[in-house]
Symmetry: C2
Subunit: 688 residues, 2 copies
Amino acid sequence: MRLTLAFAAVAAAFAASAPAAADEGMWTFDGVPTDAIRKAYGWAPDAQWLARTQASAVRLTGGCSASFVSSEGLILTNHHCVISCLQNLSTADSDLVAGGFNAADRARERQCPGQQAEVVTSITDVTGDIQGAIAALTGEALVKARDARIAEMESAGCTDRAKTRCQVVTLFGGGQYKLYQYRKYSDVRIAWAPEFQAAFFGGDPDNFNFPRYAMDAAFLRAYEDGKPVATPTHLKWNPRAPQEGEITFVVGNPGSTQRLLTETQREFQRAERLPLTLILTSEYRGRLIAMMEGSPEKTREGGDTLFGYENSFKAQSGQFRALNDPAFTAKMAADEADLRARTKGNAEIGDPWTEIDTAMAGRRDTYLDGVFLERGPASYSRLAGYAQTLVRAATERAKPNNERLPGFTDSALPLTEKRLTDAVPTYPWLEELGVGFWASKAREYLGTDNADIQALLGKESPEALAGRLVTGSKLADPAYRKQLWEGGAAAIAASDDPMIRFFAKLDPRSREIKMAFDRDYDAPVTAAQARLAKARFAAYGDKLYPDATFTLRLSYGQVKGWTERGKPVPSTTVMGGTYDRATGQLPYKLADGFVKAESRIDKNVVYDFVTTNDIIGGNSGSPVIARDGSVIGTAFDGNIHSLGGNFGYDGTLNRTVAVSTAAIQEGLEKIWPARALVAELTGGAGRR
Amino acid sequence: MRLTLAFAAVAAAFAASAPAAADEGMWTFDGVPTDAIRKAYGWAPDAQWLARTQASAVRLTGGCSASFVSSEGLILTNHHCVISCLQNLSTADSDLVAGGFNAADRARERQCPGQQAEVVTSITDVTGDIQGAIAALTGEALVKARDARIAEMESAGCTDRAKTRCQVVTLFGGGQYKLYQYRKYSDVRIAWAPEFQAAFFGGDPDNFNFPRYAMDAAFLRAYEDGKPVATPTHLKWNPRAPQEGEITFVVGNPGSTQRLLTETQREFQRAERLPLTLILTSEYRGRLIAMMEGSPEKTREGGDTLFGYENSFKAQSGQFRALNDPAFTAKMAADEADLRARTKGNAEIGDPWTEIDTAMAGRRDTYLDGVFLERGPASYSRLAGYAQTLVRAATERAKPNNERLPGFTDSALPLTEKRLTDAVPTYPWLEELGVGFWASKAREYLGTDNADIQALLGKESPEALAGRLVTGSKLADPAYRKQLWEGGAAAIAASDDPMIRFFAKLDPRSREIKMAFDRDYDAPVTAAQARLAKARFAAYGDKLYPDATFTLRLSYGQVKGWTERGKPVPSTTVMGGTYDRATGQLPYKLADGFVKAESRIDKNVVYDFVTTNDIIGGNSGSPVIARDGSVIGTAFDGNIHSLGGNFGYDGTLNRTVAVSTAAIQEGLEKIWPARALVAELTGGAGRR
């Protein structure tokens, strides 16, 4: 459940929920509901516990969570959070995805392109400041004023941009704004990862299912000035089995939830966004599978991309299923009715629902333009993404900080530049597939006679366009990208790179679409949501959690199975179960390490386990923390019921799936031996 | 808008609509609303007009409509209705799809495998008989009694099974049953077809759109005893341009509509069936496109299959869009509310809505079993389809006629056997793709741990299973199929063909699923629908048309454009427009014939045109008939708005798209010259 682009593309996050049910909630660290936790579990973390945990919790900018687990910058996360790093470092001769990675010593730990690790150092409420800047503005002016003030605060808050990063986070859909300061580490290296077949045993069929037999874990290390960073505050490594019923905390960065959409917004998800996304993803997935089949090279090169799409497809299928389940949606409808009733006649709140309905009606008409033209082929092609960033940056960087688009402000530029210029391999066949797919679907949905399609495709077929843009582009070369980045507007204007020229043509239209969205949807909806949040606080008190925003949250719960169609699903699996499930064929083929180490492995070691914690995509890699603050696992998935968690949490069914530290240590000791790591994790003491 | 399997797979057709709006309706020939037609157009066809038209109207068992247009068995239909014939007759050296077909003389007209032409000779109301056989039965007994009585009546009604065929048609979802007798012609040959690039100019992007520039027409000829059949009754060929506002009749076999689903049934389509079908089709489409790319051989071999899936995808996308349009569905909800109100307290009608709700609730639970296990890989593979038919026939043919499954009764067997044994090429890569896709999706949706999946896949991966079943099967050989067909149960039991063995294992489960569907859904819903029909007749009179059932219907309307987002769309295009739309790249590449004949073509000849006729998939190839009974076009498509026509008709937007006889004759005279055909069509007189 990695945070993928599909998650990130979801529109602005949302207002507060009605009072949370037991174990429900993704709580901000400045609003942990210790009373409720104590009531449910007879104990709750204190300030010191929370401070230590916050300082140990790591956000990976690729869309994952993680934690420091040694004093020397060692980071525990999921294998699927480092797979693109492994992929980027692989060659035809050395496939680090298939074979895994095991640095013989620190000198051989290898830098992950584009990756950055971040730790929250402070949270400041800036609601008054931002809302003051917005004041009574509407439309485009509202969005501009808000974004300008955010850019200014972020810039002023973190002047050392080599080591810090500031982000203003919009919570409760505009009901609160908080300034998060991060210590950042932009040199992150891979230390250890198991074989893909161990990490992702069961593949797509088992994804989002349980029982599960997956070693979805890996270790990174944060570096600075060429040396591992010192992290005296970190989670204690605790390689023991989880105990049935014990309290567990999952601390990480859930990407996006939409738990308090109005009925109209939810209907838009159900009738428009989710079906379109699922249908597009399915065809792209089919094309990719067919192209990879029979070609080991393409299978290696496209593997990570396919995984990402399949993961996102399954997650969104679950969301779609949930929204089509009347039992599931009835509760939400009732919640809305309740809040409407409580707010009736309150002039200060007014009728935010109708305001959102109006904005939503307009959105249906322009939705396809947004899907196909705002990012264009950048949705499916890395080279196109580079081109869009470069074209846009050339214009934006020439403006004052507080007039730039998000992503190009002072505080955002370092990561944007890193992502643009880090060396990452691109594969022409995959790029052509992406651009060609975009063009063929854009034409299919917008129509051959659509003016934008005519302007962008002219008389070219989608395949011809893709061939021309990809074959002729030099953007695969990081030096060329760097040159265009540094050359600014003049360099872009002078470039004859066909991908650059394509985006130079698209960009004005793309900005127009964004501006219309800001003006006609974002602005009125932000204003309406701010009042909805106010209404909820008034009705239900302030012990509410905001929708997920890929910022640090704490979830509490317990180790616990569930009942599936009358049959109990136990909370744990053991490593030996892998051998029973293996078929000899993918995706149920044993990893080589499992084959070779069979006689050495303790088959009774708890492998994967489930808890009632409330998480979502982006939480991948989050530590599962025991009452004593030690780490006993890393969360890598949810069960199939958890997918509806985007819209609501059902504690009887929703489960987090984690791999236990006990199993990871078994892997480090017996399957892919990494003695130095074990010593580092355990202080040299070993497990038993 | 060919009738595809996707249409055919839709569950039982449905009850009568509320009084039809202007031009709405697919009317049976024993219920043509002449009063309404006269009222709207000042003229209506008389009995003689209708009898002559009925005798000229042809049903093609491949899922299309057509008409006799000469006294020597010449049949006008769409190119896309003969494309699979062209495909089946093609080889690597001779691509009849790309190049077209033009028989130099009758001796060179070539038989289309599996194709059969049928003409309705009589319609008899047998409602009392069938309803008497059902009496007060319920569950499986109801379905068995109904099917037994149908088998008996069909067998008794058409004893000459070489030349006739009987079919009992269920109308109004069980409110009426009628016995249709057909004269059948099982030797149908291709006489003429244009190049694919002319027939399908604009390809998938232009499909279901207008303005349009497609020569989607072809000629077949019915043979008997090796000679063209005499068809003294036929439509007069009238190669003139359609006139704005003139009355037009479309006579053909609309496949299936679902215009009077209850709210619950419609919600099932919206929430379950349509999204699942669209998602599956998209991935399969993607795989197929990627496999064909770069391989001219596979592009040729898979072309027809891809067209079928894209056509079906677009049609069902339109249905899905319609069901997600509140303006569209509000009318249906209001209709249901009206009928409920009028029926309230009527003990004879009872509460059929709740009965259907109950059946529907159960169907949701077993739906996926039906989708993936009732036909298994036969949904995606021809060889698998053969195997399923053979395995099933071995059991069924040993039973008395009135105990057999539909498809294996005396009246159905000849066509089943013809389809099984006619020689048709199969392509191993396409078969493997189909079986592998089925297996991977069945596992994805039912789950790796599902008992059926375990039993069918064992430890094999989907790809390994597909390879083994396809590579090892001899079913591509028609002689082997014939041998198994004739050998019956003993031959099936003795066969070591892996595809046969696979279906021998699947068949008991597949029958169980069908039986459960019959018992738990079909039986109660049939009973409820019979009462719903009764309620509608009581409320709205008997001038209602039944939902489409791939049986002969008449639609009336007029030549008329429409208004699209404020802009008028004219009712016709001219042939010269093709050159303006051409880009030089597929699918907007000019056919060779258009390139070569440019100087000869009269660019002002009306090419394609739209009318307000109410049609649906299965109507493809239907003649468009003028007031004088002559044919002025062949309907090949609907506009994008017509796709909601599955659920309801909106005369302001729904349009039929046809190619004019004037354009066809221009093609026959100047582009792909066929002088003998022109002489036959025009009685030697030519057009002008």
